[in-house]
Amino acid sequence: MDAPAPIITRGLCHWFGEGEAKKQALFDIDLEIEAGKLTVLVGASGSGKTTLLTLIGCLRRVQAGSVTLLGTELAGASETMLIASRRRLGFIFQAHNLHDSLTAMQNVRMGLDVHGRAAAENWQAAARHLLTLLGLEERLEYLPGNLSGGQKQRVAIARALVGNPDIVFADEPTAALDKDSAMNAVDLLKRLGRERGTTTLMVTHDSKILDRADRIITMDDGRITGDSR
């Protein structure tokens, strides 16, 4: 393992609130996450795992400490740099967050259009391929309103993966999925890790996913309390 890890944090701290109500959410997080692996964050709610995810995912500004994402320092980075960094990431949220005026295909295309016209030239082939892999080949032109919860979540996964992200961030992505679809999605993420070196950082409590994880990091009260491979 000569290449530097895609995610490195050093002394990462974070606070919420102002003045008297100011509360520390993260304490000195030192973490290195290897490329191509499925890493799972576990911990009680309020343990800081989501805060950590949003800091590494360029969705919050780093207050203290350092985050190096794919070789870029995020502490003190400009908004433009953060937006550029986000384009190398894929996000899968607990809620699908699909645009309800766009068809499944168009929603997936949004994950590709962000990379510019050249990248989106063959969007139809790319979107169809991913939706088919996720078992939605019969629902390509459906609006989200006509899809089941699980189908919507699979469209959201396709949207996150269509741009070939270097890192995928996922927050309870399988909550809305049945068992087979959930395993299918996890296998897809693991396969991308093997074939393309895609790194996945996931928050989940799903025990079946924990069985397949390459590494499990446990958090409690803003600190890392366990790390098993």
Binding site: R86, R87, N97, H99, D100, M110, V114, R117
Partner: protein
Amino acid sequence: MTAFLEKLLGRVPIGWLQLSHNRVRLIAAVAGVAFANLLVLMQLGFFGALVGSVRFPYDQFNADILISASDMNTLTDGSPLPRQRMFEALAVPGVAGATPLYFAKLDWKQPDGTIRQLDVFGVDPAARAFRNPEINGRLADLSMSDIALLDRKTRNVSKALFASIDAGTPYTFETKGRTLKVIGTFGVGGGFSADGELVVSDQTFFKLFANRMAGAPNLILIRLEPGAVPARVLAELRAILPDYDSAVRTVEEAIWRDQRFQTTQRPVGIVFGFGVIIGILVGLIIVYQVLSTDVADHMREYATFKAIGYPQRFFMSIIFEEAFILAILGFIPGFVISLILYAIVTKAISLPLAMTAARAFGVLAGTIVMCSISGAIATRKLARANPADLF
């Protein structure tokens, strides 16, 4: 529509898809923009008719230059001026002829007791004061006492009356203690100040208006010799006529001054100006409401797109796409309905409301600007779409 916009924008036309997804809101928004357009177009139509109708009487004059009293603002106000000025003007090289014109207002009582107000022009039947062949053909008859020609476009008068006059049955009516006999008609049309026009000889005019004298006309109409340079004659006239009682202007200049006075100094012009502003405000507010509600409804989607890595200008382009679509979709019905109303109003009150290409394009451009301004205000809400809140 979707495919067309996709080609045009080079991306999924999210603005259009969002708008068309919520049909009720789209219809409300389009109706709002159409209403604003209709308001503005109607006000501009009336305004244009006011400005246009000011020309009508001037266009009848067989004149190149008008001499009026120096205090005249519009054709129908100002003091009389000494007829002596006409003789002075005739001495200027390049002046082919001059004739005085006397003007007053007259109430024409209808059989039902209502009154039509007429602009009365008293002219010398021996001179050709007008261009209109319908008037010129009857000048010989006018030289007899109490004979008149009446404007057949006079507002709210039965067409049958004019038809019967034209067919050879004179119409008589009493006014100012005299009996006027209308022996013919001509078509000019009244503007905002009167319902129609009446032409009589100067002698009949003095009998109708006993306090008016031949020595004090309202206007002196000057005709130039062929080949005379108007600017030179104008300068010469201005040099010899005293400016404390006379103003010398070309007909176009006089029209322009009259129009400017009526639109800026008279309430009627100002009222229509206000109407236009109100229409624009209505449109601004409706479009802002629709776009800002639309932004609020799609906060989560926009936050997701922010997380994916779309920059601020992407969201701006969605909102401007929506603003542009609303502008175009609203303009079309607004324009069509106003064309219909123009026709109805023109027929009903004999005011010529005409749609000009400049007005149509101006209002369309203004609508796009108006919608864009609303969109620009609505984008301020975008700052609230925070992708960190999605987890």
